[in-house]
């Protein structure tokens, strides 16, 4: 994004931490809040989004010289919507239980600003390998963030992780954590931690320079 070309590996690495889509860029917060009441749902949404991001980055980057700039956004949306529909049908066929849990949020991947944002800001301006690296990194960062949020909420709100009960039947779950407010609480705390880490790094870098 900032002009430097980090190559395929660098593009993957940056999506995980330094430019994590959820915790640093605050992109795609809607699904990050809505479907993360369990770790498995976070994982499924993360994978579905990564698939769409990867395929649309591939097409957008490969066709970047053919798509006239006046209609680029509409073309990107058509591309993204196609892959979302493919993901929707596939999930319905392969994992009907998860599909039922996620309901409308699968279809809403179309309007996840993360995907259109990466298509417009990155894939349409970089060659295919870099675009794929960016998509994988951003997808992994997004999926990781969703699994983290979902895991925290599931442990606190249902006393389980990936469906395995952790604390035995006498555990009194903190129900609000798997209700919508719990999403805001957990995302808020995680944003705080990421921002603190970034601030600490900046201070360290500044101290280094002064010396």
């Amino acid at each position: 994004m900032n002009g430097r070309d980090a190559g395929f590996r660098g593009e993957i690495a940056k999506g995980l931490f330094a430019e994590n889509p959820v915790f640093v860029k605050a992109l795609g917060l809607c699904p990050a809040l809505a479907v993360t009441n369990s770790a498995i749902n976070g994982l499924a949404m993360g994978l579905a989004t990564t698939f769409v991001l990867f395929m649309s980055s591939l097409l957008v980057s490969a066709l970047r010289r053919l798509i006239p700039s006046q209609v680029r956004i509409s073309t990107y949306i058509v591309v993204i919507a196609t892959f979302v529909t493919v993901a929707d049908f596939s999930l319905q066929a392969l994992a009907p239980a998860i599909h039922r849990e996620m309901g409308a949020f699968i279809a809403l991947i179309v309007v996840n600003c993360l995907i259109l944002g990466r298509a417009e800001a990155f894939a349409s301006r970089h060659p295919v390998p870099a675009a794929l690296g960016d998509a994988l990194g951003m997808g992994a960062g997004f999926a990781g963030a969703l699994i983290l949020i979902g895991g925290v909420r599931e442990v606190l709100g249902s006393g389980a992780l990936f469906g395995f009960a952790l604390f035995g039947p006498r555990f009194e779950p903190w129900v609000v954590m798997i209700l919508p407010p719990g999403g805001f609480l957990v995302v808020g705390v995680l944003l705080l931690l990421f921002a603190r880490r970034a601030a600490a790094r900046e201070r360290a870098a500044a101290a280094e320079e002064r010396r």
């Binding site: 209609v71 058509v78 049908f89 319905q92 209700l179």
Partner: protein, 241 residues
């Protein structure tokens, strides 16, 4: 981008052509995926329904869809996916276990869709499965997660009308409300009673019960392992929750 200077007309044509091609390819991809996944999706739905029927009719191993037509229950033709239908479940010996009745109604937040089993006489509820609900996690969802509440519906008299009681009901037609989820519990009872009002009068007398395959219905669309190209995971006879 390398934009060559085109006349305005050609330029507009180019834009329209780009979108048209994108739409065409997108349509092809979507139709292709749809056709590829449709059989699997339908099999999933049939399997989910089959499991639910066997769960609410403990001991049943075959099922048949029955529709209410011209004042009587008749075996449905495969095409007749009418909303006005129930499922008869038969045991291994071909004896009628009971009827699985689909019903739906307003819950606390959204419609609750459920399936419940009636014995052949319609005198008792013998099983309950919630097919779809958006009740509050941790409270309302106890209508299917609380084993005590679910167990109430394994043997519940339908006459007089099922009643919800707070505390501990002793009578065979009484259901104990879930603490903190009275509305959801009441909704389940209300849905069952509504279903009973419609279906109990329609059930034939036990001695005239429809025999399995008697009407030679093009066997109810329950593909056992044949059309699926793979063995179906065994369905537990007892609805073990």
């Amino acid at each position: 981008m390398s934009e060559r200077a085109l006349s305005p007309g050609l330029e507009a044509l180019r834009l329209a052509a780009t979108l048209a091609i994108a739409g065409l390819l997108s349509g092809l991809a979507i139709v292709g995926t749809y056709r590829l996944t449709l059989p699997r999706i339908q099999a999933n739905q049939a399997e989910a329904l089959r499991r639910a029927v066997f769960e609410v009719l403990p001991g049943s191993e075959r099922m048949e869809r029955l529709v209410w037509r011209d004042g009587q229950l008749a075996a449905a033709d495969a095409a007749g996916a009418s909303a006005d239908s129930i499922f008869a479940g038969y045991g291994a010996d071909g004896a009628l276990v009971g009827y699985a009745v689909p019903a739906a109604g307003a819950g606390f937040q959204d419609t609750i869709k459920l399936l419940y089993g009636l014995d052949p006489a319609g005198a008792r509820v013998i099983g309950l499965a919630i097919l779809e609900s958006r009740e509050t996690p941790g409270l309302g969802d106890k209508i299917f997660k609380d084993s005590d509440f679910v167990a109430e519906f394994r043997d519940l008299a339908t006459e007089p009308e099922i009643a919800l009681v707070k505390g501990h009901g002793e009578a065979p037609h009484e259901v104990d409300a879930i603490t903190g989820a009275t509305i959801s519990s009441a909704a389940v009872v209300r849905i069952l009673n509504a279903g009973n009002r419609i279906w109990r009068p329609r059930l034939p007398a036990p001695e005239q019960a429809p025999a399995p395959g008697a009407a030679q219905a093009p066997a109810i669309a329950v593909p056992r392992d044949v059309e699926r190209g793979g063995p179906v995971p065994a369905v537990p006879a007892e609805g073990g929750r």
